[in-house]
């Protein structure tokens, strides 16, 4: 290891102009949110209230068992009904938090698979996902706070009347009670669910701190020992992540449609997070490159990132189709209700098809050729399409289950998404500006410099 390469040290400067642009984005988001809230408040006064629509639709489409799953508003029992506009706000907050939490987690996941695979090509870009991962603690705190704020409206299974003898008793959800409430009885405090949330974010964050510490120590004291330490940490993290990412998907997304389940769902959410994360990493790398940073990243490295995005767009489609195909073919009412809510006679059907066009057709065709993957311009065109596309994907996973036919996609949803995006970028870019942009003592740096495909 005597041979040392010298690369120009780089430090990202978070300039005030960039910061101001992000604050403008934040302000636009807030304005849109207020406008959207105002409009939703006015229009919800005219609507006939409650789950009337939804019950009717569900009965039409699913003759028997599942009407109660799709009619949350119906069984509210003794509680005061939450206004539609507030429910819409809760839904979009939850959905955006799950989406952006994924971007943070994928930052860490990307770094760990590079270590576990002993990858050399990515040595120059690792600081970008590292900065993205700094969103993990914020996402965790937000997730916990939002859960306590919104759980009654978003998660049907939190209603205690489902577990007690009476008109609302639901034998299917009652059977699932231990998954949420263990060791307590169904309908009390979901200690198992909350513990999982805290443990997942806690463990992810702990791994992030350790790996970041080693990466930064490597900058000061050269040598391969930090790299080896990180390789061990990464491998252990990946084992934990394999389980926790799936369970997180069941907890935070799938349990909204409490009756329904899909064995593909953990993978589906992971695939969506992963390809969005890859697109975000690539977009940030491409933007840094355009701004004159990351001189050691050339079209060969972009090609690898592009291949990653191309491949995992197809992977996501594969998972999407596997889930759809099984449910379509088996045609069991408890399962098909999920897609009926989203396709047939539904306000979400345009999102359902847009999702496929943005996340499969466009990336597949635009990134197919070698040249497209090697150019900044095409990558900068395709990555925003994928990020927006998977935002639609998460919207379609969360909203129909909560809002039934009353959900919307207007100023409120766009506003909240812009607020999340602005804050996410502020956090990520601040974190990026605090450490050197290139790990100059990374043992694989020379391999990365000579990377040629």
């Amino acid at each position: 290891m005597a041979h040392q390469v010298t690369v120009a040290e780089e430090q990202y400067v978070f300039r005030p102009e960039t910061k101001r642009k992000l604050f403008i984005l934040l302000a636009v988001g807030v304005v849109l949110l207020v406008l959207g809230l105002f409009m939703a408040m006015r229009s919800s006064g005219h609507d006939e209230h409650g789950g009337g629509h939804a019950v009717k639709a569900a009965e039409q489409l699913v003759a028997s068992a599942d009407a109660s799953a799709a009619s949350e508003g119906h069984e509210a029992g003794g509680h005061a009904e939450t206004a539609t506009w507030l429910k819409r706000l809760y839904t979009t907050l939850w959905m955006n938090n799950v989406f952006f939490a994924g971007l943070g987690i994928i930052g860490l996941f990307f770094i760990t698979i590079q270590y576990a695979a002993q990858a050399g090509w990515s040595a120059g870009v690792k600081r970008v996902p590292l900065a993205m991962a700094s969103w993990i603690p914020i996402a965790g705190i937000l997730m916990l706070v939002l859960w306590f704020l919104t759980h009654h409206d978003i998660f049907h299974w939190t209603h205690s009347s489902l577990y007690a003898e009476g008109a609302d008793f639901d034998p299917i959800i009652n059977k699932k009670a231990p998954f949420f409430f263990w060791p307590l009885a169904g309908g009390t405090f979901p200690i198992f669910f909350i513990a999982r949330m805290v443990i997942f974010f806690g463990v992810w964050y702990w791994f992030l701190l350790q790996i970041r510490k080693n990466m930064l120590a490597e900058d000061i004291h050269a040598g391969t020992s930090y790299w080896h330490k990180n390789q061990v940490l990464s491998t252990v993290f990946l084992i934990f992540f394999g389980v926790s990412s799936s369970v997180a998907a069941w907890d935070w997304v799938m349990s909204i449609d409490t009756h329904w389940f899909s064995t593909m769902f953990g993978w589906y959410v992971f695939a969506s997070w992963w390809v969005t994360g890859l697109a975000t990493i690539t977009l940030i790398v491409a933007s840094l490159k355009s701004a004159g940073y990351l001189k050691i990243v050339n079209s060969n490295h972009l090609h690898d990132l592009g291949k990653f995005i191309f491949a995992f767009s197809i992977f996501w489609t594969y998972i999407w189709f596997s889930q759809f195909m099984l449910i379509y073919y088996a045609n069991i009412p408890e399962e098909t209700v999920y897609f009926i809510e989203r396709i047939k006679n539904s306000p979400y059907s345009w999102i359902f098809y847009t999702n496929l066009i943005l996340n499969f057709v466009l990336p597949f065709l635009l990134l197919m050729t070698r040249d497209a993957k090697r150019q900044l311009s095409t990558l900068k065109l395709v990555t925003p399409i994928i990020i927006v596309g998977h935002w639609f994907d998460f919207y379609n996973m969360v909203t129909p289950g909560v809002m039934q036919h009353e959900g919307g996609l207007g100023f409120m949803e766009i506003g909240v998404a812009l607020i999340f995006m602005a804050v996410f970028l502020l956090v990520v870019l601040t974190s990026l500006s605090k450490v050197p942009l290139i790990g100059k003592n990374h043992p694989m740096l020379e391999e990365s410099l000579h990377h040629h495909i």
Binding site: F321, F324, M325, Y328, Y329, N331, M368, T369, R370, H452
Partner: protein, 176 residues
């Protein structure tokens, strides 16, 4: 191809020398017939000035052929020729056709690529490849120069160019 029978062959020991050697030889206006190496050498395509292969285009076209055949076959069979009710679905419904369509796309593009590659590379049964120097399968890099295509340069000058470019030996090779 058969007209090319007389070659001058340079033997190189080291791939770094070979890479710079190729540039020196081409810099002298010599057209290189082919370079043989026992292992893949990074950057040799660029050094030899090879254009990118058009095999991906062929693969895409073969793939699209597979997609069309699969969809046409299934829609015709199950939708028109012999409609059958399966699981209460429409006769010609797209989702169940996707797996077959995917498989046929992959199959035809793979077989088509292999076939195209064989034809383009002139690989066929009972074709005996020319062996310029048996050591190219062991530890030497072999650069073959076709004399018929470099008639403006004298044979001895070619030998000198190869030597200057770093060849450890220079031989002549004539095929029957």
């Amino acid at each position: 191809m058969d007209a090319d029978k007389n070659f001058i062959v340079g033997v190189f020991d080291d791939e770094e020398v070979l890479l710079t050697g190729i540039e020196k030889v081409r810099g002298n206006g010599v057209k290189i017939h082919e370079v043989y190496s026992p292992f893949p050498v990074h950057g040799i395509d660029d050094a030899l000035g090879y254009k990118r292969s058009r095999l991906p285009i062929a693969a895409f076209l073969f793939g699209m052929t597979g997609t069309s055949i699969a969809l046409t076959m299934q829609i015709w069979m199950l939708g028109y020729d012999w409609p059958m009710i399966i699981g209460g679905k429409n006769f010609a419904s797209l989702p169940p056709f996707i797996p077959v369509t995917f498989e046929l796309t992959v199959l035809l593009s793979a077989l088509g690529m292999v076939g195209t590659f064989f034809i383009v590379s002139d690989m066929k049964p009972y074709k005996w490849p020319r062996q310029f120097d048996i050591r190219s399968t062991d530890d030497k890099h072999i650069m073959a120069i076709d004399l018929a295509k470099n008639q403006s340069i004298d044979k001895t000058v070619l030998g000198k160019i190869l030597k200057d470019a770093g060849a450890s030996e220079v031989n002549e090779k004539n095929f029957e």
